[in-house]
Each structure stands twice: as structure tokens, then as C-alpha cells.
């Protein structure tokens, strides 16, 4: 457990230093842990586990948009679990339940549990369709068509800078919509 969390901290440090691949690896590494915790939270609240992926995606978006609040001298896991817990409580509350979420839900993931590869979630997709055209095009191009920023810029005759701005604004708008809907 210790080793895994140290690895996350190292990956996050590299990510903050500009290593996109390290960031990608980190997000992939934490996702199964978040998924297992989301399922457990839903189960405890008497909710069907099929909404877990919506919660996982909301947590990932919050992690992304708030990563500047992580202190690179501090371990990454407590920061991550605090965000995850906050988002999980929020999500359960929105579904009409007040529930106590134990922080250990995140730390005590059993190996081999919920190692499902990836799953689709309805909420992000639904909110994606309410974004302004330009942001939606850029997000879809990068997410669904796996295009790079450069290819996306060429496809829509935009500058790479404009693609980056639309990408970031789109992600921020998506997060706000998920939070407030």
C-alpha cells in the first residue's frame, strides 16, 4: 500500500513538471481505486452500483481542475482521497441520501477488486451535449476520436492555442454543469 502511494506521488510530481504521460499513467492507476470506493459508497447508500462510473468521472474532473491545490511536498494519496470523498458525498446527497463516507473506503482497496478496464458513464456524455459547439467539437475530437491537439487544430482550422483554451474551458464547464445539475 505504501509503495503504491509513493508511486502516485512521484507520478504526480512528474505530471506537474509537465510530463503528460506520467499524468496519464497516474489517472489510470487511481481509477480502479476510485471505482471500488464509489461502488462501496453506493452500495452502503442502497443505490445501484451502475452509477459508480459517473462518480468516478466527476472525481477525475475535480482532481484535474484542482490539482494546483496539491502541495508537491505532500503525499498525493490523502489529497486525492479528500477530493474523492467530497465528490462521493456530493453525488450521494444529490441522489437523496445523506451518508457517512469513511476515508478508509479509499485506502483499503483490496487487490484484484474491481479491476474492470473502463466503463461508460451517462452524465458526462449528457452534459457534453449542452456545451457550446466549439468546446464540444474539441472535446469530442480529443476524447472520442483520440485526435491530438495538433490534429484537432487542423481539423477545425483553429490555432493550437485556441484548441487548448477550448479544451480547458470545456472541461471546466462540464465540471460546473455536473456539480450544479
Amino acid at each position: 500500500m505504501r509503495g503504491r502511494e509513493d508511486e502516485w506521488t512521484d507520478l504526480m510530481r512528474s505530471a506537474m513538471a509537465g510530463d503528460d504521460a506520467a499524468y496519464h499513467r497516474l489517472l489510470r492507476a487511481v481509477t480502479p481505486v476510485l471505482r471500488a470506493a464509489a461502488r462501496r459508497g453506493l452500495a452502503r447508500a442502497g443505490q445501484p452500483p451502475d452509477q459508480a462510473e459517473d462518480i468516478v468521472q466527476e472525481i477525475l474532473l475535480a482532481v484535474h481542475l484542482k490539482r494546483h491545490t496539491w502541495d508537491s511536498e505532500a503525499p498525493f494519496a490523502p489529497w486525492l482521497f479528500a477530493i474523492a470523498r467530497n465528490k462521493l458525498i456530493d453525488a450521494l446527497r444529490r441522489r437523496g441520501r445523506r451518508i457517512f463516507v469513511n476515508i478508509d473506503d479509499f485506502a483499503e482497496t483490496l487487490p484484484g477488486e474491481a479491476l474492470q478496464e473502463t466503463a461508460s458513464a451517462g452524465e458526462v456524455t449528457a452534459q457534453l451535449n449542452t456545451l457550446p459547439q466549439r468546446q464540444r467539437d474539441v472535446l469530442q475530437s480529443i476524447a472520442v476520436d483520440s485526435a491530438s491537439i495538433k490534429d484537432t487544430a487542423t481539423k477545425f482550422s483553429m490555432s493550437e492555442g485556441a484548441v487548448r483554451v477550448a479544451l480547458h474551458r470545456g472541461l471546466a464547464a462540464l465540471t460546473a454543469k455536473l456539480r450544479d445539475h
Binding site: 503528460d20 487548448r164 479544451l167 480547458h168
Partner: protein
């Protein structure tokens, strides 16, 4: 969108760098300050006898009290902008102005009273005080909330209350240079009520706008 696709999209946005919360809080307060100062200059102004007043330790104490509220409140609000931060171990900093006031009230009680206690307590400006401090706080509160929105507080209402405390502390610092009531009893009563009002507004607004 499946989660792998989302992760790929987030990784593509890794180059985006958000400014630090402290920087944005500073910016928010700097943009808001002229509005509060405008209210001060238009309706209040520095008291005419300020040069003499400066030799009165109770006049100076007012600034020590208001700044010992504002500065720790700024520090704590920045601390709380981290998601894993707890209030534990930090709350005692907020006792600083309370302790200062208690000492000042004690020292005033030991001196020969210049005025009866009820006059010191009620003063001449209690209504102005209760109106001006919240009025000058509001622009600062808006600026503070703007900055703190970039954080990720786990308890948005608490973070909003801290934003209220820090803006009330700063506004009260301005107000202290106007008000001719220097008795710590006056400060302990009316400044506290004004601060409580702003803190409650901060908590109410914060619980909505500081969610992330």
C-alpha cells in the same frame, strides 16, 4: 464518454496551469480594496484628531485587534483551500484578537474611568459602526470569495465564514481610523456584532459558491 477517453482528454489538458489560490486571493482583495476605500473616503474619513489619538494606546489597540483577526483569517482561509486540510490546530489563531481585547478590557478597567462604563460601551458611533463595517466588508468579501473559488475547500461554508472574517477584519481596520470610540468595551461589542454579520453572510454565500 468512457473513462479511458476522459482520462486521455484530461492528460491532453495537462499543460494548463492554474494560478495559485494565494495569488488569486491577493488579486481579488486588491481589486476590491478601492471600492471599500471609496466608501470610507465618501462617508467616513479619518478622524480629525488622529495625531493626538495615536498617543492613546487604546486607539492603537483597535488596529492590533482588527489586524490580528484579518491576518490569521487570511492564513487559515488559504490553508482550508486545500481539500485535505482540517481546521484542527488552526482555529486557536482566531483567539488572538479575543485575547488582545480581553487584556485591553482588563487594563482599561484598572485605570481611572474617563467615562462611565455604559457610555464607553455604547459610545457615540455604535450604529455607524454596525453599518460601516459590513458595508466596507462586502467588496472585500466578494474579492476574497473570488480568490478562494480557485481552491478546493472540503467545508465550503467554513471557508466562506473565514472569508467573512478576513474581510470584516480588513474593513474594521479602516473603520478604526474613523471612529472616535476607542474603549475596548466598544470594540468588543460593536465590532464583534458587525463581524458576526459579515461572517454569517460569508458562510451563507460560501456554502454555495465555494463548492467545487
Amino acid at each position: 464518454m468512457d473513462t479511458d477517453q476522459l482520462i486521455r482528454t484530461l492528460a491532453a489538458d495537462n499543460a494548463h496551469r492554474a494560478p495559485r489560490v494565494g495569488g488569486l486571493l491577493t488579486m481579488g482583495l486588491l481589486v476590491a480594496a478601492p471600492f471599500s476605500i471609496l466608501i470610507f473616503a465618501t462617508f467616513l474619513g479619518v478622524r480629525p484628531d488622529v495625531m493626538t489619538a495615536m498617543h492613546n494606546p487604546f486607539f492603537d489597540t483597535k488596529f492590533a485587534v482588527t489586524l490580528s483577526l484579518a491576518i490569521p483569517a487570511i492564513v487559515i482561509s488559504l490553508h482550508l483551500s486545500r481539500p485535505e486540510a482540517l481546521m484542527r490546530g488552526w482555529g486557536w489563531l482566531l483567539l488572538l484578537p479575543v485575547g488582545l481585547l480581553a487584556v485591553a478590557i482588563g487594563s482599561e478597567a484598572m485605570m481611572a474611568p474617563a467615562m462611565p462604563m455604559t457610555m464607553r460601551l455604547v459610545g457615540k458611533n455604535s450604529r455607524w459602526c454596525m453599518l460601516s463595517i459590513p458595508a466596507m466588508s462586502l467588496p472585500l468579501l466578494a474579492g476574497a470569495l473570488f480568490g478562494l473559488r480557485h481552491g478546493a475547500p472540503s467545508r465550503p461554508a467554513l471557508a466562506g465564514a473565514l472569508a467573512g472574517l478576513l474581510s470584516a477584519g480588513l474593513a474594521a481596520t479602516l473603520y478604526a481610523s474613523h471612529c472616535t470610540d476607542d474603549s475596548p468595551l466598544f470594540v468588543a461589542t460593536w465590532y464583534t456584532i458587525a463581524t458576526a454579520v459579515v461572517t454569517a453572510i460569508g458562510a451563507a454565500v460560501g456554502s454555495r459558491v465555494l463548492r467545487y
